[in-house]
């Protein structure tokens, strides 16, 4: 009897706390999967951090094809999930519809601008972070030829490439070899092809290769390490994937963005609108840790820190490919 009573008490307490929170966050990943060691994993890490700090559970969804998007989003909205965060530009179309149908819910989308009164659009100045790793790449390169491998061929990825070219050329690279893996979402998850492209670039003389290609990048970093060359990771800190063979990673603080969206939802301070996160806002950065500290010389560090300060101060402006669909470098 006592036990039942205690159980009831516990249940009541639990349900009370559930009411008190009133926040039921949801996170939707893009193709490539939750553990892509890159973009999606970064958003997962942000959500996990939120969970660890607040003890609030969140629900999540991994898409495996495009037709699931709207269904999944709508289901979460009907369940009253709030805020709902989507990782990836591909969600935009579904979000346009769902956000209109559920004006009381708060949504956040990463990497895309959706202009609705209840949507927070989180976009990053990837070109600024890429500029920094471009400087490091050119300085670390012996041949002064560096490579760039993108995932799917879309303006967003060209934006990474353009910033990187800018940084590399500024630091003395003579040539930047650029390749895209493919034109379909499958290009985010084909490490074999990524590795093959990396080998091709190495044959052409590149000795530092920057991969902005989600899961495909794993193969790029592998091929670079196998050939004794250097890779550069993207989105998450990928320095640990091939310790001592990854020069640095262009960090995109997707984790912070997801964490903040959840936190603001919890605190009731969620504001819609466009958040453009660059170096100044701490939205992008380059990664330094145990694995790459021997690769980065003092000279490189000084140069990259100077560039970072200049970009923040506004004395260097890195060209944004998406502003005019061209790259002047």
């Amino acid at each position: 009897m006592k036990r039942i009573f205690l159980g009831l008490l516990a249940a009541t307490a639990l349900s009370f706390s559930a009411y008190a929170q009133e926040v039921k966050p949801a996170l939707l990943y893009d193709l490539g999967g939750k553990f892509d060691k890159s973009f999606n994993e970064a958003s997962f890490n942000g959500a996990e951090k939120f969970k660890a700090e607040t003890g609030i559970e969140y629900v999540e969804f991994e898409v495996s094809n495009a037709s699931q998007r709207e269904q999944a989003l709508r289901r979460f909205a009907e369940d009253g999930r709030n805020p709902i965060v989507m990782a990836g530009f591909s969600w935009a179309e579904s979000l346009e519809k769902v956000a209109t149908d559920f004006p009381d819910l708060k949504f956040a989308i990463i990497d895309m601008v959706v202009d609705k009164p209840n949507v927070r659009s989180l976009v990053f100045k990837e070109h600024e972070g890429s500029y920094l790793v471009g400087i490091m790449a050119a300085m670390a390169s012996q041949t002064k030829k560096v490579g760039f491998i993108g995932g799917m061929d879309i303006p967003l990825i060209r934006k990474f490439g353009c910033g990187y070219v800018g940084g590399a050329k500024a630091a003395g690279a003579t040539e930047v070899i650029q390749n895209m893996t493919g034109d379909t979402p499958a290009a985010w998850n084909d490490p074999t092809k990524g590795g093959e492209i990396a080998k091709t670039q190495i044959d052409q003389g590149a000795d530092v290769i920057y991969a902005a290609a989600g899961g495909t990048g794993v193969g790029v970093l592998q091929a670079a390490a196998d050939a004794g060359k250097l890779g550069i990771g993207v989105d998450s800190n990928q320095n640990g994937l091939q310790p001592g063979k990854v020069l640095t990673s262009m960090l995109k603080r997707v984790d912070t963005a997801v964490y903040n969206a959840f936190m603001d939802g919890k605190n009731g301070t969620f504001e819609a609108g466009i958040n453009n996160l660059g170096l100044k806002e701490g939205g992008v950065d380059y990664a330094m840790d145990e694995n790459n500290k021997d690769l980065v010389t003092e000279e490189m560090k000084a140069a990259v820190e100077k560039a970072k300060a200049d970009i923040i101060a506004g004395t260097i402006t890195v060209h944004d490919y998406m502003s005019d669909d061209s790259c002047p470098y």
Binding site: F35, N189, D190, E196, T200
Partner: protein, 383 residues
């Protein structure tokens, strides 16, 4: 000699890309020649790749990975055999089922065992199949052309790559020069005749299916332990289906199968190099020529050894021209003429080229591809 280096690089890339296709294509050859259609090559490769990655990660040995890959793919091949030979089920349905089982179970098991979202842990170099340097490769490196070809192109591949190319003459010998091969082909054309001769149709077909399993296992193992360092979900990315296309392209013969796989590999390697370069008009000519040569090649392709060699030489010349245009100094000569006007061809077209070519060649040039007559039909003994 920059141009020789470039040529070697592109051919090297061709070989690396073709190996899994070739192994899978030969695997399909055994099975289909014996009258069992196998659309499940993709799934068996995928399962093999997973087994190789998982076993190599757990036991720390590439060899155990190889054994497990073969073991798992033979297992799946036997399931296919059990459904379609013993129980006379529909071979296509059974093959598709195997693809689905492999796609789903590899991710689930990978997640359950390694908690990395369906991938297996990255393997260190000593747990993978490394490059084999052939004898004297270093000494011959400076000898022009021949030495470069030997040390750059022939040397430096992994064990499984050599095995794949050795499997081509071996398969030819088995199928066309042994008693087992004769019976295997017969069972694919006219199983009743084989049965009348007192030979078990199902046992022969089972053996063919086992050969398929072994080869797809090797293909998967190559992908997981040579090309990559571990298994990644859906890593075969449709190569099993391309291998099937190559098999039809090659009219179910081993040597043409090799050429078909090399052709697909070459176009793939080429598309990576051509990407994003605006090419002048005259630079496109060699591409057209290469395609025409290959088309012509397929027309005369009765695949007598002499003709095959001539064909290979022609393809080589076309490839050489192609590469020389890229890396050589022809650009300057044409720069100011009409032929020098750059045309930017969309990457999409380059990437679709292998498939477009398959359709064109299949439709117009290589003639009718006739599958083994008893293919797809379960054998029912007359009573």
């Amino acid at each position: 000699m920059e141009f020789v280096d470039a040529l070697i690089n592109i051919l090297n890339s061709t070989i690396r890309v073709s190996v899994p296709l070739l192994l899978a294509c030969l695997a399909g050859l055994y099975s289909e020649r014996a009258g069992v259609f196998d659309i499940g090559l993709e799934g068996k490769m995928l399962a093999g790749a997973f087994a190789a990655g998982a076993a190599a990660a757990v036991f720390g040995s590439a060899w155990i990975g190889l054994i497990m890959a073969v073991f798992v793919s033979v297992g799946l091949a036997l399931v296919h055999g059990f459904a379609s030979i013993t129980h006379r089920g529909n071979q296509i349905v059974s093959g598709v089922a195997i693809n689905f089982i492999a796609a789903g179970s590899t991710i689930i098991l990978g997640q359950a065992w390694f908690q990395q979202g369906g991938r297996t842990p990255s393997l260190p170099a000593e747990d993978r199949f490394g490059a084999i340097v052939l004898p004297f490769a270093d000494a011959l490196r400076d000898v022009p052309i021949i030495g470069q070809l030997y040390s750059g192109l022939l040397s430096g591949h992994t064990l499984l790559a050599y095995l794949a190319f050795l499997a081509v003459p071996f398969t030819w010998w088995v199928l066309f020069r042994t008693r087992f091969g004769l019976r295997l082909r017969a069972v694919g054309e006219n199983p009743a005749a084989v049965d009348t001769a007192g030979i078990s149709v199902s046992w022969l077909r089972y053996r063919a299916v086992i050969c398929t399993g072994v080869l797809t296992g090797l293909a998967g193992c190559y992908m997981a332990l040579s090309q990559n360092a571990g298994f990644v979900k859906d890593m075969t990315a449709g190569r099993g289906y391309i291998a099937l296309a190559a098999l039809i392209f090659a009219k179910w013969k081993p040597v043409p199968a090799m050429f078909a796989c090399l052709l697909f590999g070459f176009l793939d390697a080429l598309s990576i190099r051509l990407q994003g370069r605006p090419l002048a008009v005259f630079e496109w000519l060699p591409v057209v020529v290469a395609v025409l040569v290959l088309a012509g090649l397929m027309t005369i392709a009765r695949w007598k050894p002499l003709r095959s060699i001539i064909a290979a030489v022609l393809v080589g010349i076309a490839a050489a021209w192609l590469v020389s245009v890229f890396y050589g100094g022809l650009t300057a000569a044409f720069q100011n003429s009409v032929l020098g006007a750059p045309i930017r061809v969309p990457v999409q077209l380059m990437q679709a080229l292998p498939y477009i070519l398959t359709v064109i060649l299949l439709a117009g040039f290589i003639g009718k591809a006739i599958p083994p007559r008893a293919g797809g039909v379960p054998y029912v003994k007359e009573r």
